[in-house]
Each structure stands twice: as C-alpha cells, then as structure tokens.
C-alpha cells in the first residue's frame, strides 16, 4: 500500500531546536552558531573575541569537535565557561547534543552563547541548533570560491567573517569576489574582513556583537 507522508525529514531536529530557541528567548541569551572549514581559525577568533569582550559581555561557549577537548581547554583558559561536545565521528552538531550541553551551563548569567560547530562547510548548514544566527568564518587561505562551492552555508549565514586578512599579500584571494558570491543569494549578509592574529577589523565584529546582544538581551 502507498502511504502519503509529506513530512520534513529533519523535523525531530527542528522540534528540539525550537525548544532550545524558546529557552534562549526566555533566558535572554543571544546564541550564535559558528561554522567554518577545519583550520579557518574558528577557535583562535573565538579566543580573541572572548578575551577582548570579557569585560563587556557575559559569555559562554559550547565547543563541538569530532574528538578531543583541546578547544574547550583553550576557551576555558580565557576564563569563560566552556562545555565540550564530542560527536565521535559525526560531522556536525545537532539540536539534541546542544540540549544536553546547555544543562552544564549556567544560562542565568550568560548574555551571549557561542556554539562552535564541527569544522565542515556542508553538513552543519542543514542542522539548526536553536541559534539566533549562523556565522560562517572563511579564511583567505581557503580561496575566494568557497561561497560558490558551498552555497547553502553562506545563504543561511547572517555574518561572514573573512579571517586571516594579514595573509592577503601572499595569497590570491579577491575579497570582492568572495563577497559578491556570498551576497548573490544572501544580500543582507554582513561581511567583516578580520585578522584574529593582528586584531585588524575586529572592532566592527565586536560592535555588531554588542548591538545584537543589546537587541536580544536588553531590548
């Protein structure tokens, strides 16, 4: 017999994500899902952001990795509370993993929660984890064609951080080209060229973070 179904395959993930969203709204926590390829500088950028904004914002981090708690240790060294999720081979975080992790965070005292996803430009884009916004980090050493090759992740992101711009003199990376690609299907995407190493461009990113926290937490 034929059975008409017509259901969203990822409905279970989206149901839990909605539960998380409601919780984050009630607790007034801005939640950002950070995504990038492995090695784009997610953790370095995060460490620097945590150190620089420690006095301005109350932050916490959920670290997603396939293995090890190296990144959670790096983040914890900044003094910000960090919880590690190991996916044991899984290529992305999903909402049930985040639901489990937030039990270990004191959300009462958090205004901004970063969820650092597994390094991967494909799979994390499909699985919402209750975030307000997705943020994609692209480093200039990866090439300016990445938004063209991985359209979904850039189409879904609120912000694209172009990291490692201190290396621009040494690589063939056209900022305009990468930006144009990203804007093609996502005209409102905000683009911040930054260097987590030298600090260049970070002020604009920090202003954006403060403005969004203000909107969610105090607005």
């Amino acid at each position: 017999m034929q059975i008409q179904v017509v259901r969203n395959i990822l409905e279970a993930n989206e149901r839990i994500a909605q539960e998380l969203k409601d919780k984050f709204l009630a607790q007034k926590v801005l939640v950002l899902n950070l995504m990038s390829s492995p090695g784009a500088g997610k953790t370095t950028l995060l460490e620097r952001t945590l150190i620089d904004l420690k006095d301005d914002l109350k932050m916490a981090v959920i670290e997603g990795d396939v293995q090890t708690n190296n990144d959670a240790l790096r983040v914890a060294a900044t003094g910000v509370q960090a919880v590690q999720i190991n996916t044991d081979g899984g290529c992305h975080l999903d909402s049930s993993m985040v639901l489990e992790a937030i039990d270990k965070i004191d959300l009462e005292h958090v205004e901004l929660l970063f969820i650092e996803n597994v390094g991967n430009l494909v799979c994390p884009a499909e699985f919402t984890v209750g975030e307000d916004y997705k943020i994609t980090i692209l480093s200039v050493t990866e090439g300016d064609d990445k938004p063209e090759k991985y359209p979904l992740i850039f189409a879904e992101s609120k912000v694209m951080l172009l990291n490692k711009i201190d290396l621009l003199p040494y690589v063939d990376f056209n900022l305009q080209r990468a930006s144009n690609f990203a804007k093609s299907l996502n005209p409102e995407i905000e683009i911040f060229p930054v260097s987590a190493k030298t600090g260049e461009g970070l002020d604009d990113w920090y202003q954006w973070l403060k403005k969004e926290v203000e909107k969610k937490v105090r607005g």
Partner: protein, 117 residues
Amino acid sequence: MHELSIAQSLLDIIKEEMAKNNVTKLLKVKIKYGQLSAIVPEALQTAFKVLTADTPLEHAKIIAEEVPLRARCRKCKKEFTPDPDEFVIIYCPYCKAEFGHEIISGKELIIEEIEAE
C-alpha cells in the same frame, strides 16, 4: 557524511508511519531534496541500508527527486531558475540584477510517500 543522520531521521519517521498503518515490509520511499541541500542520493541509500540491515526495511528503494533552485529577484520580483552552470553569481534573466535573489525553493528535505505491505 550527514546522509547518515538524515537516514536516521528518515527511518524514525518511516517506522512511525508504518506502525500507524499496520504494515511491516517496506518497499519504497519517495523523498524530495533541494538542490542546495547537498544530499547525495547514493550515499543516502547506503546509509539507509546500513541502518536497516537484517530488518524488513533493508530492501527498500529510496527514490530521491531533486528540487531545483528557484529564486525571486528582489529588484524586479520575477521568479527564475538559475543556470546550474553559473551557480552563484546569478544574474536575473529579466533585469540582470546580480545580487539579492530570494530563495523560493531548493533547500527542502521532505519525505513524500512510502510504499509498504
């Protein structure tokens, strides 16, 4: 790689629907996936096989239909399907606007129908 998680979610829905309809042997599953969703149908079929090995569900065939990307130009509001060879620098075929197309379809991931006995 994420096909395994998708296959697991698919399987959960299928089991629920089969129980509801009192059927035990799965023959076919029809799904629709958007062009942007980066699903590889063969990988999904393999993942599904792995998850259902030695069960009455293991021989089911997954029929996957791709839903093309459709966009609406923010400038002239007309709808169009971008040329798949010029994927991301997408020019509106009507007004030539380069940026700001809204995605109408091409992101979906839906189970449409199952056939079972």
